[in-house]
């Protein structure tokens, strides 16, 4: 039949002279459309066409708005407008008239009206609402054609909100006596399902009815719906498998009316549709698959005729066989079919054969091996599409032995193909292969160079990103790392010495980074040379300002290498007045850092081992800033959901839907977490409170919504986050915030513990690197792809803790990622270094605490004891600790009766004076903590006028004793009790005290002492149900996140870890669900803290929330200690 088409259409050239053709001539004489078309075909230029159409449109406009125009004329006008619109000329004025025509015309006019509407408007167009009434009326019409038209327009587009208005009518049509109406109704409902699945929930049974409609047409229409439904949720439709199989059986056996035959194949499209459905149902489900084996075999057998459409069925069959649970017999037959496809001379079949091979090559690499020669032939096929498909196939079977050949083929192809889409796709694949299987450094760097230069600026941004990451993180062998970097440096220097202006911008940026970081590795090259190369680059006109920023950063790094200062100074001079803020910023940095080697060394340490950084994702370093802002009268931060709640409460009528219940919010949190743990403040609305915190406090308002996510998942996003976080604290000079931050760094932020992690990672890396180094036979193109070793396997890391090396050297940060934010890099440098500082300051703290200022020199011994005591306490001293020292045991007897049964800490000496020994311990009561101070007289006389004062900034101390102790008998013991409640949480509470007493010579002797209590002593389990936990979780605003080590050696790491926490810190484990656990504790009833723990990449990701700002951080510290010690 296609010959007929060919023949008739070839007749065209003669038709172009319209007069000789009676058909066309007849039309063109009496139709305005005809003359319009004729007019257009006679024109030669686009400009003339435009003029003509504009003229035409204005005449149409005039006519449609005239009241005298009849509907019949209107119809003719609409056809002309449709034509103009098709040519790309907008005729907005006609839209309303199209709707009017559909409303008012007779059947024929209506039909054109509907057609015009469906071509002009779209689902969200406001005028569409005017059509609803017309559709409603036509659906109820007795004229079948009108009903058909209404259903057609509905399935093309319909306003989502108005579906309920017509849904009952459409549903009713499912029972219509005419099959065409039923069929169209089914498709209209399918459309509804696509745009508003909830609206048609209730009629799923109707779909089933449509499936067994007596008319095959209706049945096949309903398959569209089922294909979609099963794709979304195969489990719920397993019961229909047998029905689909039965239908297919009957179709294959030719039970359908002859009308359905196409080239004597019974209902081929129907068969294709059914096979697709079956493959979805049978996927990884043996019992379901078994039902369909027979019919699949039958289909394969029947479809052996030589026509296009039978191949379509065969192809579907083969795909189905490879998708469902395998059966060797069928697989064999399917493999044969694939072979026929691949070997076929018909190019369409070859294409499909390659596609099928690509699809099955994972399961059956031997098949590819069989067709080795054909595949190689296809690589040189004149058709680019075939070539690309072959490359796709090769990509799937690449391993470390054939990688060079395959990548070469891909690069060859790219040099011929100039289409952007294909290039971008292939370049990504080459980069992936190069990274996975690179045989040696030279090859890797060279391949990446080609990737960068060919890919140009269409390159996916994550390719240079991961390349740089790989360079900086390196792999196990330090020596090898160095070689790779050195090679890269060499190759880039020679590239820059050539014609750098031709290189794409992204490549230049990568080059700059590498030169900045590693050019010092090459000792024979003066930094000056590199600097001059960079300046040359800077002066090229085509260099974008983004690249310029990279160049300036590279220069900044180079300056530390002792290069002469004249060049950088000159450059920074030029650019410090640039209009581009980023450039200006970089220039300032360059200027400042090049003149200040000390700071330079601090900000950009060179040759530091690339240890993974812990990033304080809770931004606790901003706490200082926040509290300052609060003190200055800023409103305290409320998380979005809380604000929402308050807002809705203030309204009389809540129009919002009910809020999320816990399970949803929990899961959504964890999803956000999983995606990018470091990006939480951006991606998850429920978290990132602190970030917003600072937004409120700061005068700068940051709009984060519009910020482009330039860098990939594990790339520089973290850097950007830090940029966002720190931006509000920004100050004009890069150094000022540094100082501020130092102060702001609260002492209780987490101390990083990178060393044990490193060890663990390396072990993991070693085990994963040397597994599966199975050798393959020769340099055969085809090989199994399963067991291959990855040369550049990244260090395995917990994503949350993994940051590119640039986080260590913040000036490395790509400007594009921070471009919007006026980032002050030194702030982020400070952010990064803050853990160490914190560490230091916490050490200071310990010392300071231990230092008891005692006038007596003999007290030195006590000092050390105190320190020991501290550590003992810090170890989360178990409440039931046995007391071993005799001195203590004698004091234990003096414990007040009401406290004697309760757990208490070790009794430790506080201070000693010649006549008096002071010791203390704390006792944990259910609702409070009691500090006991024992005073033991060691003198032979009574001591008079004893006064003991205990104070602490963070605690409320109230004395239980009715009256202060006045007198102490000789060798007697007196106990003072103090109730302690937490005012503001801290890691340790240091109580300072002063005791004074009269010594015999009537002079007053004063002794100072201090006592330290860890936060853990104040912790009590908070017994909650999961629901309560959920409500509380949403209500709390202060949160902190951190990864903690997991007890990997235990059978169930999560349970074991939580048990340790429970025992040591007295936390209450609310529930453990899978690899997540929720835990709660409190200081008092009104000071709760909730923990959400999740096992993630061998770490325990803990998320703490509390209404008390400081509590999460402090608690985290103790969790960390507790886990380290166990």
């Amino acid at each position: 039949m296609s010959d007929v088409v060919e023949k008739t259409l070839t007749a065209l050239p003669s038709l172009l002279s319209l007069d000789s053709q009676p058909g066309s001539a007849k039309l063109s004489t009496n139709s305005k459309l005809g003359s319009l078309i004729r007019g257009i075909t006679e024109l030669t230029s686009k400009h003339e066409e435009e003029k003509l159409i504009q003229r035409e449109l204005s005449s149409i406009k005039e006519q449609v708005s005239s009241p005298n125009t009849t509907m019949r004329q209107m119809k003719e006008l609409m056809v002309r407008t449709i034509y103009c619109e098709m040519l790309g000329y907008e005729a907005t004025f006609s839209y309303i008239h199209a709707i009017k025509l559909a409303q008012q015309g007779n059947v024929l006019e209506k039909r054109v009206g509907y057609l015009a509407v469906s071509l002009f408007l779209n689902e969200s167009h406001e005028l569409l609402l005017l059509l609803v009434n017309t559709v409603l009326k036509d659906l109820q019409s007795t004229n079948l054609i009108e009903v058909c038209m209404a259903l057609t327009v509905v399935s093309q587009m319909f306003p989502k909100d108005m579906i309920p208005a017509i849904l009952p009518l459409v549903e009713e049509k499912l029972n219509h006596s005419k099959e065409i109406i039923r069929r169209k109704a089914v498709l209209a409902l399918y459309k509804f399902y696509l745009i508003a699945p909830n609206q048609v929930q209730h009629i799923h049974n109707r779909f089933r009815k449509a499936l067994c409609d007596k008319d095959p047409g209706v049945m096949s229409a309903s398959l569209h719906i089922y294909l979609q439904l099963i794709q979304e949720n195969p489990e719920s439709y397993k019961d229909l498998t047998a029905s689909f199989v039965t239908i297919l059986k009957q179709v294959v056996a030719g039970k359908l009316p002859m009308d359905f035959n196409y080239h004597s194949v019974p209902a081929p499209w129907l068969q294709i549709q059914l096979l697709r459905i079956l493959s979805l149902l049978g996927k990884s489900d043996q019992s379901t698959s078994e039902v369909m084996y027979e019919i699949l075999d039958e289909s394969l057998r029947r479809a052996e005729m030589n026509h296009n459409i039978t191949y379509a069925i065969l192809y579907e069959c083969v795909k189905c066989i490879y998708t469902i649970h395998p059966k060797s017999e069928l697989l064999e037959k399917a493999a044969k079919v694939i072979g026929n496809f691949v070997l076929s001379q018909r190019i369409n079949l070859k294409y499909l054969g390659l596609k099928a091979l690509t699809y099955v090559v994972h399961q059956d690499p031997r098949l590819a091996l069989q067709h080795q020669m054909t595949i190689i032939e296809c690589l040189d096929h004149p058709d680019v599409i075939i070539k690309r498909e072959t490359l796709e196939l090769l990509f799937r079977i690449t391993n470390d032995q054939n990688v060079t050949v395959i990548v070469e083929k891909m690069l060859d192809f790219m040099s011929i193909n100039k289409e952007d889409h294909t290039t971008a796709d292939l370049v990504g694949k080459v980069a992936e292969l190069a990274e996975k299987y690179a045989p040696d450094n030279e090859w890797f760097v060279e391949t990446m160079n080609t990737v960068f230069s060919v890919g140009g600026d269409t390159l996916q941004p994550d390719i240079p990103n991961s390349f740089l990451k790989l360079l900086s993180e390196g792999f196990d062998d330090e020596e090898e790392n160095k070689k790779l970097r050195l090679f890269a440096v060499n190759s880039y220097i020679s590239l820059l010495q050539g014609e750098p202006s031709k290189l794409p911008q992204r490549f230049l940026q990568a080059i700059c980074w590498v030169l900045g970081e590693y050019s010092h590795l090459r000792e024979d090259v003066e930094p000056d040379l590199v600097l001059r190369l960079l300046v040359k680059l800077l002066n090229i006109k085509s260099t974008s300002s983004e690249t310029k920023s990279w160049i300036l950063m590279a220069m900044t790094k180079l300056c530390s290498g002792g290069a002469p200062l004249s060049v950088p100074l000159e450059v920074s001079e030029t650019y410090s007045s640039s209009m581009d803020t980023m450039l200006r910023q970089r220039a300032q940095e360059l200027q400042y850092l090049s003149q200040n080697p000390e700071l330079q060394a601090r900000v950009l340490p060179r040759g530091v081992s690339q240890e993974p950084m812990e990033v304080d994702s809770s931004l606790s370093f901003l706490d200082g800033f926040v509290s300052e802002a609060l003190a200055a009268g800023a409103a305290p931060y409320k998380p979005p959901h809380q604000r929402q709640e308050e807002l809705s409460r203030s309204k009389a009528l809540s129009l919002e839907p009910y809020g999320l219940s816990l399970p949803i919010s929990m899961s959504s949190c964890s999803i956000a977490d999983r995606q990018s743990p470091t990006l939480l403040s951006v991606s998850s609305g429920l978290s990132g409170d602190r970030t917003d915190h600072s937004h409120k406090g700061g005068s700068t308002t940051l709009k984060l919504d519009g910020v482009r996510r330039v860098w990939g998942k594990e790339g520089y996003l973290a850097q950007r986050e830090s940029a966002e976080e720190t931006a509000p604290v920004e100050a004009p000079s890069p150094l000022q915030p540094l100082v501020q931050q130092g102060d702001g760094d609260a002492s209780y932020s987490q101390t990083p513990t990178p060393i044990p992690e490193c060890e663990q990672e390396k072990q993991q890396l070693a085990s994963s690197l040397f597994v599966g180094l199975a050798s393959q036979s020769s340099v055969c193109l085809m090989g199994k792809s399963e067991q291959t070793s990855q040369r550049f396997r990244r260090k395995l890391k917990d994503p949350a803790a993994s940051f590119p090396s640039s986080t260590q050297n913040p000036l490395v940060s790509p400007p594009s990622s921070v471009g919007h934010l006026l980032l002050d890099s030194s702030i982020s440098s400070d952010l990064i270094s803050s853990p160490e500082q914190t560490h230091l300051s916490s050490v200071d703290l310990t010392v300071a605490n231990g230092e008891v200022e005692l006038p007596d020199r003999d007290m030195k011994g006590i000092k050390s004891t105190l320190l020991r005591e501290d550590s003992a306490l810090a170890a989360g001293s178990s409440p039931h600790e046995e007391l071993d020292r005799p001195k203590d045991s004698c004091l234990t007897s003096h414990l007040p009766a009401e406290l004697s049964g309760l757990p208490h800490s070790e009794i430790t000496p506080l201070c000693t004076s010649p006549s008096l020994d002071l010791s203390s311990c704390h006792v944990q009561k259910d609702d409070s903590l009691v500090l006991l101070v024992f005073m033991k007289s060691s003198s032979d006389y009574d001591i008079q006028q004893i006064q003991v004062q205990v104070t602490c900034e963070e605690l409320e101390v109230s004395c239980v004793c009715d009256s202060p102790v006045e007198e102490l008998k000789s060798h007697g013991v007196v106990v003072c009790q103090y109730f302690l409640t937490v005012k503001s949480p801290s890691v340790y509470f240091v109580l300072s005290g002063m005791m004074s007493h009269q010594i015999p010579d009537n002079s007053l002797q004063e002794t100072q002492f201090s006592h330290r209590i860890p936060l853990t002593s104040f912790l009590r389990p908070l017994r909650l149900s999961t629901e309560e936990y959920g409500t509380m979780w949403l209500a709390f605003s202060h949160d902190t996140k951190q990864n903690l080590p997991l007890m990997m050696d235990a059978e169930e790491p999560l349970t074991a870890t939580l048990k340790v926490l429970k025992d040591k810190l007295q936390l209450h484990v609310v529930e453990i669900i899978g690899n997540e656990g929720i835990v709660a504790c409190c200081l008092r009833q009104d000071q709760p803290c909730l923990l959400h723990c999740r096992v993630h990449a061998g770490m325990l990701a803990v998320w703490l929330r509390s209404p008390i700002p400081e509590l999460p951080d402090c608690l985290l510290y103790h969790c960390q200690r507790a886990l380290q010690e166990s």
């Binding site: 296609s2 088409v5 008739t8 259409l9 070839t10 038709l15 172009l16 053709q21 058909g23 066309s24 459309l33 078309i37 019949r72 056809v79 034509y83 619109e85 098709m86 790309g88 907008e90 007779n106 059947v107 039909r111 057609l115 969200s124 004229n143 057609t152 399935s155 093309q156 587009m157 498709l187 459309k191 049974n205 089933r208 499936l211 067994c212 047409g217 229409a221 569209h224 294909l227 039965t246 009957q250 039970k255 009316p257 209902a267 499209w269 294709i272 296009n308 459409i309 191949y311 379509a312 192809y315 190019i347 369409n348 070859k350 294409y351 058709d383 599409i385 075939i386 952007d420 889409h421």
Partner: protein, 197 residues
């Protein structure tokens, strides 16, 4: 799903464009241009499939086309459509055009398509509805279209009396489909189904 059906001639002049997904006017024109650019570059003896261009969607989309003399028929589809299936659908499509338009005029040519823009769209609407293949049975489509042509002719005959025309058309019904006669041949029983109410 079918995303778009485009027909243009050897010079890239659009002869019919139907989008089943909403695009801006400008984007639509761009898609037509890009598609033409992609398709026209291809030789005669290469395969009829093209992995999609940038515009209409990423790698999930493909273009399936046929070239008849002066016209390109291009279907843009997503991965849920069978390549060869669509290819034959285009064949059916063009045959229907030829068959139906042929009956009105002695010869069908490229220009007939544009002279009957509305009619061509109506034929298409019988085959593809909202991006879904509705009917692949040529006879059935032709029956439908014939009926519509009849309507047109009768309307032309009574042009002077529109009122009568309206009533005449209103009383008209679709004829019974021939296939309904031998419907007894097929018995699709769907077991395991819940009872319907």
């Amino acid at each position: 799903m079918i995303k778009a059906i485009l027909i243009f001639n050897n010079h890239g002049k659009p002869r019919l464009s139907k989008f089943y997904e909403h695009f801006n006017e400008d984007i639509e024109q761009q898609i037509i241009r890009e598609t033409f650019h992609l398709v026209s570059k291809r030789d005669e003896n290469v395969c009829n499939f093209l992995e999609g261009g940038m515009l209409i969607g990423g790698s999930d989309y493909k273009l399936i086309y046929r070239h008849y003399a002066t016209l390109y028929f291009v279907f843009c589809v997503d991965s849920s459509e069978s390549e060869l299936g669509i290819l034959d659908l285009i064949q059916v499509n063009s045959q229907v055009f030829v068959e139906t338009l042929d009956k009105c005029f002695e010869n069908v040519c490229e220009l007939d398509l544009i002279f009957h823009v509305d009619k061509v769209h109506h034929i298409l609407a019988e085959m593809v509805m909202g991006g879904m293949v509705l009917e692949t049975n040529m006879n059935e489509i032709i029956t439908q279209v014939d009926l519509q042509n009849k309507m047109e002719k009768s309307e032309a005959g009574i042009a002077g009396a529109p009122a009568r025309a309206v009533s005449a058309v209103k009383n008209m019904n679709l004829p019974e489909m021939p296939r309904n006669i031998n419907i007894g041949d097929i018995s699709i029983k769907v077991p395991n189904l819940p009872s319907f109410k």
